[in-house]
């Protein structure tokens, strides 16, 4: 016996197209704020290129030595040695310059994420309305496929480095905001009260008590932000950012397994080093 199931489809008469409004918004922004976006583009470019210049200025052997010393000082001799070998390998593969470029974009994004994220995090810790408003926005920033905001990013900032930085910031700032806010809210009540009981102003309480208390968690947020920024490297290259990601894209286009692996492993190495080093730095801020 056969049962015929009737298919139901959503009525076509009622329609809602939210994308249209976003498009209109982007058009409106371009029309009215082109000058602002141009200026922003220049600033971001300036930062990236300066960081890149600075990094390229360091001779490769010194760079490796520096990584080794950092690893040694922050963790252990073996770790330092391990990190140095990883960096060395990236050089041997022939991706040194790409690595420098990737680093420049990641560092710029992280710095800007911190500059944006920490104050917003602090404000949202104090302001429940702002916090409630931010929550879905931050969720959206992290779950919205990044290609989607690459489109307006390209319209605002053209191709290449700057939209890459923009997209990276959008994707990687949320943990910095979230953890800053959480950290400030979690400052023990008595400690905050002690600060006020002695006549601290809000600023003094923030700077002398709340932020130092929140520091370990904020650093954990920065570590997460850095890792997310690293994970955007390939996506960034789809809109023309140079660096390690670019090689992955080329390898995909050419189905070049060796090249794909080489650039992939370089990204992994770089990510591991950055992760461990920032983790060690954040451990330094811990006080029981």
């Amino acid at each position: 016996m056969q049962v015929k199931l009737k298919k139901h489809s959503f009525p076509e008469l009622i329609k809602f197209d939210p994308g249209m409004y976003i498009e209109a918004l982007v058009d409106w922004l371009i029309l009215n704020f082109q000058g602002f976006f141009d200026a922003l583009t220049d600033v971001i470019k300036w930062i990236v290129f300066n960081i890149q210049d600075g990094l390229s200025f360091i001779p490769w052997f010194l760079f490796i030595l520096l990584i080794f010393l950092l690893g040694w000082k922050l963790k252990s001799f073996q770790s330092g040695l391990g990190y140095a070998m990883m960096i060395m390998l990236i050089g041997l593969i022939g991706l040194w310059e790409d690595m420098i470029f990737t680093l420049a974009i990641v560092i710029t994004s992280v710095i800007l994420s911190i500059i944006i994220g920490i104050p917003i995090g602090i404000f949202s810790a104090y302001n429940q309305k702002l916090e409630a408003l931010l929550k879905p926005l931050l969720d959206g920033m992290q779950t919205m496929p990044s290609f989607v905001y690459l489109i307006p990013a390209m319209i605002f900032f053209g191709l290449g480095t700057v939209p890459a930085v923009f997209a990276t910031i959008v994707y990687s700032t949320p943990p910095c905001i979230r953890l800053t806010s959480l950290a400030i809210q979690r400052v023990p009540k008595e400690m905050r009260e002690a600060a006020y009981a002695f006549g601290s102003s809000r600023w003094q309480a923030l700077v002398k008590v709340e932020l130092p208390q929140a520091m370990p968690t904020i650093m954990a947020g920065i570590n997460q932000t850095t890792m997310l920024a690293m994970s955007m490297v390939v996506t960034s290259s789809m809109i023309g950012a140079k660096g390690l990601g670019e090689n992955v894209i080329i390898a995909i286009n050419r189905t070049d397994i060796a090249m794909g692996f080489n650039s992939g492993i370089s990204i992994v190495f770089l990510a591991i080093i950055i992760d461990r080093l920032t983790q060690m730095i954040s451990k330094k801020y811990e006080h029981v």
Binding site: M191, E193, A194, A195, F198, G199, S201, Q204, K208, H287
Partner: protein, 396 residues
Amino acid sequence: MSKKIEVKNLYKIFGSKPKLALKRLKEGWTKEKILKTTGQTVGVNNASFTVDEGEFFVIMGLSGSGKSTLIRCLNLLNRPTAGEILIDGEDIVKYDRQQLREFRQNKVAMVFQNFGLFTHRTVLGNVEYGLEIRNINKDKRKQIALEALESVGLKGWEDKMPTELSGGMQQRVGLARALANNPDILLMDEPFSALDPLIRRDMQIELLEIQSKLKKTIIFITHDINEAFKLGDRVAVMKDGKIVQQGTPEEILNNPSNEYIEDFVKSIDRTKVIKAKNIMKRPNALVSIKDGVRVAIREMQTNHISSVFVVGENMQLEGIVTIDDCVEAIKNKQSSLKALLRHDYYKTTEDEYIENLLENATKSRYPIVVVNDENKLLGIIVRTSILSGLLPYNSN
């Protein structure tokens, strides 16, 4: 003595509709009913009291009775719903932000139950905090902080982190931090409740010493009646946000104004509250050193006692003589008391707790004698009066 703190009809209600709850409260609703019907929590309900300069004022009550809420109103960590708080005659509730900061920086300091120390700062950094907030320069504040640390017995610990210290030492840091600011008023919210009993006793004694030296006005919170009566010049008892009785420890002990306080009083170890002066009496019999042996014997015979204290001019205590020694002296034709004086009695001061007298009272053959600093005899304590002092509600 001048009034330092005057609290008049203070209310504090937690919740979104405090004014409504206040109205109901004034209509006579109970805390419970208000919570049920309006969702507002009554923290403090119409509290009034005054504290004199240099007085040690204790607020006592069960957990949840509103003690913390009340003390936190005194530095406006809690903003009162209604009422006045006059400190040196000024209503601090009316202060603006700047005045409030200055008030907190200069006049009051708080010591917290769980210490409230800044774990990211060294011990010194903690003690310096209040001075740093006031922009006092580095050398000066270090010097003041070190002095404060020394005064609480923590010299040499300044570079440690608070978490490296024991609970008792952490609270000493808390106390030093408060003292460093040289406030007129110390607010102490169950400062010793988190400490174990032995350390707690040391801290109580030390606090009393500091108080007698610095003459601060102290508001001290506790849920322990023994602590309250040991420390307080006056004690206020709170229940459900209300002050249900206030007075000196003796007043409260002897006239508990209701069942709630009676319950409290029952739990008290009276030996830790009652002092020598509360149970000593004027001796019926006394002889002067100038009197002879015969006078002493007559004195003892008429009072049916076997020993009598001997005093010199101005009631200076000279010693004690026994009936046996006196009779013996008569046989030997001696008439001066001087040679017969014994000194193996137990001597104490009027502020000694009977806790510390019990053992000697049972061991000694003679009554315990109470003297002042100049060895002037003030009274004696016989064994029976110690025992009757331990009975609750002695009716005199």
